[in-house]
Symmetry: C2
Subunit: 320 residues, 2 copies
């Protein structure tokens, strides 16, 4: 099986890498399938809006369903696919990680945080409902994530695997992960950060949950080959940072279109991003190098890693 | 062993109940010991304030350590003691449930919620730090609660038991529990609630975590006798509501002292509480009846339940 392949000793060149793992030309259809799947699975796990407290349940569903790229569930499913797991085995993990992501967006949008009125083209949760409800939506979506993983009816059946999923998600979302990254971001406002500090902040704020997505799927394979685990770990770390840099670059390009100038938008932002600190060109170069290294890591796994390679292309080379 | 006693078929009278389970005259010293214990254990599990993000870690510790009645950890330890478990077996559960309680206080105090400036005689988290930090403190304390239960170094070692602890804590703190109760409370503001609706709100807002505290300790006993489990379940439900009614009664008495009048303070509050809806006397009667019923449930367990009986007395008959 793919997940038990021995480690490759060769160090592939970047050209060999991008060529050696095939890409599914229909990958965007695969993404749509995963998106539809996680949407259905999340809708089943969210309490119905007809059940008390109805307003909170309605606000939960509003904040989670109907929109979103579903990057993290896609990573869960692509890793499962790479490791030969049935998608049903990782539905709980895919939902849990997206519930955490959704909660973080609701809280990040609050007036005391980023104070955003719009999210995915719709009013943010605290605008559509109210601030107190938005706080509770975030709080209760976080609980739901852990509840889904711990549920007695959960899959996989093995308790030690499910406990490991809880732990991986907790590590990814706590002060060593996502919440800690958000705190570093707050602390950084108006400060001059070094590139290493920016990377550390991104590794936590975005990277940790990206990493958890991949490693949670990997944790569903009992006795996973160590070399494969290390390859996935390395892939997920590099992808997480590359994804964030691309986000910041797209943000600048969006601003550029808006402002009618091609560069300099990085200075408009008070927030330290990779392009703001290193410049757009250096940021793009770093992103492409991370992209290449993420693909190289997949070489250990071989052609079975095609879904992860395609996902890496999509996430890093995307235009929106 | 106490936890494997056969169910008692007799229906004890209330007099027999209160007499038949002995009380430790030194129980308040026992409470102090548990308080000190959970303080030490929580301090060990909270990330050091010297580690990045330092401000968030400092704010976590500020919000958790140094004050608090530690009602929920006491319930965990008292249940463990009743079931013959070593306290070390439930340290993780005691810390986890208190982390959840602490996070809920931090978020409840936020301007968009109860907008409180003081908590336990000190500035609330968002006053001592800032609102964004307080949101992240709550979010990350919640993660920490689940992380502590899922940690590979956790006790008990049995993964299925620890997974059950995660599930019980999630049920107690989600929309069917604490967060749902808070939402019902928000929805109730300015509305006329029935007594049944007030009880439902309290059962979730306070009762669910009280219940989880007892049942998490019970879950640490493999193959717990069903009758004992039912007795603990019943005890915890009645105690949870009695505790909340006492809280509301003390609040009124506090107001009475403050306002210089003995009754009528219930109307001062827009929030529907048991005394506000049913009147002070009916509330006190309901509380005493719940107290009696909680003690009756312990009869099934017998004298081993002395710590839970003493705790019930303390929580319901307390004066502050």
């Amino acid at each position: 099986m793919a997940m038990n392949l021995p480690p490759r000793r060769s160090t592939p060149t970047s050209d060999r890498t991008t060529v050696s793992i095939p890409r599914d030309p229909d990958f965007s259809r695969q993404l749509d399938t995963w998106r539809a799947r996680v949407e259905t699975e999340m809708a089943r796990r969210l309490p119905p809006a007809t059940v008390q407290p109805t307003r909170l349940h309605e606000a939960q569903r509003y904040s989670v369903l109907g929109a979103g790229k579903r990057v993290r569930p896609a990573l869960v499913y692509a890793t499962a696919c790479t490791l030969g797991l049935n998608e049903a085995v990782v539905d709980d993990a895919a939902c849990a990680v997206e519930f955490i992501h959704a909660y973080s967006l609701v809280h990040d949008d609050l007036p005391a945080m980023d104070d955003d009125d719009l999210r995915r083209g719709r009013p943010t949760c605290h605008k559509a409902f109210d601030e107190a409800t938005a706080i509770l939506v975030g709080d209760s979506l976080q609980v739901l994530a852990f509840q889904v993983l711990a549920s007695e009816s959960g899959i996989p059946r093995d308790a030690s695997i499910r406990l490991r999923l809880v732990e991986l998600l907790a590590i990814g979302s706590g002060t060593g992960g996502m919440a800690g990254g958000q705190a570093l971001d707050l602390e950084a406002n108006g400060k001059q950060l070094s590139l290493a500090e920016v990377e550390e902040m991104h590794a936590r704020k975005t990277g940790a949950l990206i990493h958890a997505s991949v490693m949670m799927a990997a944790a569903c394979v009992p006795d996973l080959n160590d070399a494969v685990r290390r390859a996935l770990d390395s892939y997920a770390r590099d992808l997480g940072l590359a994804f964030q840099i691309q986000d910041d670059l797209l943000d600048i390009e969006g601003d550029a279109a808006l402002l009618g100038k091609a560069t300099g938008a990085d200075q408009v932002h008070a927030k330290p991003t990779y392009p703001a600190v290193a410049g757009v060109e250096a940021a793009r170069a770093r992103m492409m190098s991370l992209h290449r290294r993420a693909l190289e890591a997949l070489e250990t796994i071989g052609p079975a890693a095609a879904p992860l390679a395609a996902l890496c292309d999509w996430l890093v080379l995307r235009k929106n």
